[in-house]
């Protein structure tokens, strides 16, 4: 094992204190130490977006960061999106209803990216959604179901807020 450092961070609301190799990427750390394998690695050079997580509420590529960089910070992964074990987030529901996933490998990054985006832009146009996920590659869906899901989720979230 190479040089290590102790970090403390919050992942999906739970605090972790971990000894981590200084060269470990954040993605490798999340997948191997807390065992949160929902964050996927598709390219490890910051293009495909599958590894996108929320860092203090902002989307970030976990393959392009080191674990030691997130000491003291808050992270949300796909495992932490749903409000409870029995209930999915409206975005997750919309993905299922609109066939926004096939193999599901790009899905974690799509969800985290869109959660941030819909927070900033609750009533987006189709083109704005397409731009928002332009840094997330999907090889199965042709993006159509994902775009439909995002627009559907935006509406559900607006309605929930209005209610």
């Amino acid at each position: 094992m190479g040089e290590t450092r102790k970090i403390s961070l919050s992942v999906n609301g739970k605090t972790y204190e971990e000894e981590v190799e200084v060269r470990f990427t954040l993605a490798d750390f999340l997948r191997q130490q807390p065992g949160l394998t929902g964050t996927h690695l598709g390219c490890e050079h910051g293009v495909c977006g599958a590894c996108t997580i929320l860092l203090n509420g902002r989307s970030a590529r976990s393959c392009l960061m080191l674990a030691v960089q997130v000491d003291g910070q808050e992270i949300t992964t796909i495992e932490g999106i749903a409000p409870s074990e029995d209930e999915m987030h409206p975005l997750q529901e919309a993905f299922r209803d609109n066939h926004g996933l096939q193999c599901g490998f790009c899905t974690p990054g799509m969800l985290t990216t869109l959660i941030e985006f819909l927070g900033d832009n609750p009533d987006p146009t189709e083109q704005e959604v397409r731009e928002a996920i332009s840094g997330n590659l999907c090889r199965c869906t042709g993006y159509q179901g994902i775009v439909a899901a995002a627009l559907d989720a935006a509406q559900r979230l607006r309605e929930a807020k209005g209610a």
């Binding site: 992964t77 209803d97 096939q102 599901g104 083109q127 997330n136 590659l137 159509q144």
Partner: protein, 780 residues
């Protein structure tokens, strides 16, 4: 379809909840106690002799458990090679991949040694410390150059660079061409890249000495194939090896192939007595996972004055790469499909597969069909232009009319079965697409756009594609004492909703509750035989077997329940997990009880005198392909200054027979279309003259992303095939097939004021600008 409970409905996918919450289990998500991590030492050269491999320094690094070369593996291998080529009389030489390279490397990326360490980080460090001495040899980078006299040999031990050669055709081609009023020739370059599934390949293996069992988790499309190859290479018996496919993050063809890394990981795990994982990274995917690549076509079409096709002939050179990792099937598909949608009185194609110093070529979604369709559609566009006939009109005059189906072509499949177009209405399909894109109103739109200085164009392409490749896929349907309906199959899933598809078919006949069905596929231990996911085949093959098995279990369950309820079978129905007497809600028995009744009690007869077990296993057998058809119609705008192509509209009308789940079918067609758009405008797997790959990341190799993708407008026709009991045809590859032909036609049409023509894919912006500039200079 009316009257169905779940079959034919837009049922939500059973796969989704786990995948949406991060609970999926892909191969790299498997973490086992004591697990080690592998990295591969790979050839950095297109062609070289290995004079020495020195592993000493790597082996002694902290955290390194082992470094293995072929010499270390040899005592444990009963066959050093991966013998996987599909049978064909066309081979001129056998080029099977060795488990690891030993004395010669023939493409960049070829595995030379495997390093196993405590972490992947250490394994990669150590891989860099394995010293391999190479004597560089001349490499063959271009498949045309490979066939020239005096070309360097891609393998120094080969007599030549021809992997295989075959021809196919029918009719009196020579005399027809000699007497034809018009003959038009074209030379075309067609290139397709890799699958680039977002999940790369991967393998996890461990050996259990108590069971004497090797387990391999692999991101593959074919578990049983992998098992059988491992039996062959490692001298195991059937009980000593199990292959399991976890969730797979996209396959698209290349994951159908069994790879050197798979056997190396299995052997490493066995030798070390600890689990070993290898997760391919993206650069490895670019240089070591099979790809499609180049085809060079010289073709000509003979037509009469009315644009009626008289014949088509030509030749094609196909880049096979350095080894046979699948067969000659890709080139065969391309040559076979060219003439299929049209009435072509005579046809001849001569095909050569050239060996090059590049990663092996095997099918990617579409499997050679987009190329063959491109040839036909481009020739029709050329003939239309020369004869002054509208592009749809020349197609109307030549498409095979529905009244003539089934239509027997003078060609044979690779399995020597006749090619019979079974069902559909090709003409109606095209007319629907033309109407949706408003083809008749297009000229007006184009005129108006030109006045505004905008270049818009429209293109149309028809396709058929053989799907549902047999001979079978086993399905067992079983109800156990739990009352759950279990479905087992050799089918494999990589995102195409196979579990949901099988569930909809089975649930329809066994109570209609999809939640009560559990599908177990992608595991060599659940059924003895399996073929797996490829060639748009599983709904046809596994779907049909599932239907037959579910019906048999249904009959059996009703028979036993009739006995138990003392009622007539005709008065019973299965609803949810119960069988009840129609109209008498209280008179019922649970499926679990019914299953238990035939599970056997020592000394007591089974009720109703039926066979033991509430189960049925079916192998629906099919040899003939069922042909899907469709039409893509595309409207684009081209910026002549930058060469950028934008989609204004993209229509696809298709016919895949009976639809099990329209939502899933749409997803497949749109996804395939995205793949086709990428192939046509973005994806290029480049190599330099030394066969060094030059596009090995997603900045150099471009995939289509959301902003470039148009909204796909879809039309469905439903002509059930008579070839299987469901009436289904395959759909997984459809979208990709017409895309290149339709898009290039539209781009050419948009740029018609410049008089430029295109004969290749991919067509990228600089090439468009260059063509326009040369045309302008000529006009000058």
């Amino acid at each position: 379809m009316s009257g169905w409970k779940v079959f034919g409905s837009r049922a939500k996918r059973l796969e989704d909840p786990a995948l949406l919450t991060g609970q999926g289990r892909f191969v790299d998500d498997i973490i086992l106690p004591e697990m080690l991590h592998a990295a591969f030492v790979r050839s950095p050269h297109g062609h070289a002799k290995i004079s020495r491999i020195d592993v000493e320094q790597a082996q002694t690094m902290d955290g390194v458990q082992a470094v293995y070369t072929l010499n270390d593996f040899r005592p444990h291998l009963t066959n050093e090679h991966l013998v996987v080529g599909l049978p064909s009389p066309a081979y001129k030489q056998e080029l099977d991949r060795p488990a690891l390279a030993n004395d010669e490397v023939v493409y960049v990326g070829k595995p030379v040694a495997i390093v196993v360490a405590d972490t992947r980080y250490i394994a990669e460090d150590a891989a860099a410390m394995v010293m391999v001495d190479y004597d560089i040899l001349p490499a063959v980078a271009d498949c045309r150059a490979a066939l020239e006299d005096g070309a360097p040999l891609a393998h120094s031990t080969s007599p030549h660079n021809i992997l295989a050669q075959f021809d196919m055709g029918y009719g009196e081609v020579d005399s027809v061409f000699a007497n034809a009023p018009h003959v038009y020739s074209e030379s075309m370059w067609q290139h397709r890249g890799g699958s680039q599934s977002i999940e790369c390949r991967g393998a996890v293996s461990f050996y259990d000495p108590i069971e004497d069992l090797v387990t391999l988790y692999s991101a593959t499309q074919a578990a049983h194939t992998a098992k059988n190859i491992l039996i062959d290479m490692l001298g195991l018996d059937e009980n000593q090896i199990r292959v399991i496919i976890p969730d797979v993050g996209g396959g698209f063809g290349p994951k159908l192939v069994f790879y050197q890394e798979d056997v190396a990981v299995v052997l490493a795990a066995k030798l070390l007595g600890r689990p070993v994982k290898w997760a391919e990274d993206r650069r490895e995917h670019f240089i070591s996972t099979t790809q499609e690549r180049d085809q060079f076509w010289d073709v000509e079409i003979a037509v009469d004055n009315d644009g009626k096709i008289l014949g088509l002939r030509g030749s094609m050179i196909h880049d096979h790469g350095a080894y046979t990792a699948r067969g000659i099937n890709l080139a065969f598909n391309s040559a076979l499909i060219v003439s299929l949608p049209y009435d072509v009185p005579c046809y001849y194609m001569d095909v050569v597969l050239a060996v090059t110093n590049k990663v092996p070529v095997t099918p990617v979604r579409g499997a050679g069909h987009p190329q063959g369709i491109f040839v036909m559609e481009r020739l029709l566009d050329r003939a239309a232009r020369e004869l002054g006939i509208d592009r749809p009109e020349i197609r109307r005059r030549n498409l095979i009319p529905t009244e003539q189906l089934p239509y027997t072509k003078g060609l044979k499949t690779r399995g020597d079965a006749p090619v019979i177009l079974d069902s559909g209405d090709y003409l109606a399909c095209m007319e629907d697409a033309l109407e949706r894109i408003d083809f008749t109103g297009f000229l007006e739109r184009q005129k108006k756009a030109l006045q505004e200085g905008r270049y818009i164009g429209v293109g149309v392409a028809n396709y058929v594609k053989g799907t549902g490749r047999g001979p079978f896929e086993t399905v067992t349907v079983r109800i156990g004492p739990s009352g759950k309906i279990m479905v087992y199959s050799g089918a494999a899933a990589m995102g195409q909703s196979t579990q949901t598809m099988l569930t909809q078919i089975v649930a329809e006949h066994l109570g209609g509750d999809m939640e009560n069905v559990e599908v177990v596929i992608g595991d060599s231990s659940v059924v003895p035989m399996g073929i797996g996911g490829s060639a748009s085949r599983q709904t046809v093959t596994a779907g049909s077997s599932a239907l037959l098995a579910a019906r048999e279990v249904q009959d059996k369950a009703l028979k036993v329940a009739a006995h138990m309820l003392e009622a007539s079978e005709e008065d019973l129905e299965i609803d949810g997990n119960e069988i009840r007497v129609k109209g008498v809600p209280d008179l019922k028995v649970g499926l679990g009880k019914v299953a238990h009744a035939v599970a056997g009690t020592p000394g007591y007869a089974l009720p109703g005198g039926i066979e033991p077990g509430m189960e049925a296993t079916k192998n629906f057998m099919v040899d003939d392909l069922t042909f899907v058809n469709g039409t893509a119609a595309v409207e684009v705008e081209v910026d002549p200054e930058t060469g950028k192509v934008s989609f204004l509209k993209y229509v696809i009308v298709h016919d895949c027979g009976t639809v099990v789940n329209p939502m899933i079918v749409e997803g497949q067609v749109i996804g395939g279309t995205a793949h086709g758009i990428g192939n046509t405008l973005f994806e290029w797997m480049g190599y330099d003259e030394t066969a060094q790959p030059i596009t090995t990341n997603f900045a150099e190799y471009l995939l289509v992303s959301a902003p470039e993708m148009p909204h796909i407008q879809m039309g469905h026709m439903e002509s059930p095939t008579p070839l299987n009991p469901l009436g289904v045809k395959g759909v997984g590859e459809c979208g990709v097939v017409p895309a290149p032909a339709a898009i290039i036609s539209a781009v050419e049409n948009a740029l018609s004021p410049f008089g430029v023509f295109f004969d290749h894919v991919p067509l990228r912006p600089p090439e468009i600008v260059e063509k326009i500039q040369s045309a302008k200079a000529l006009a000058g």
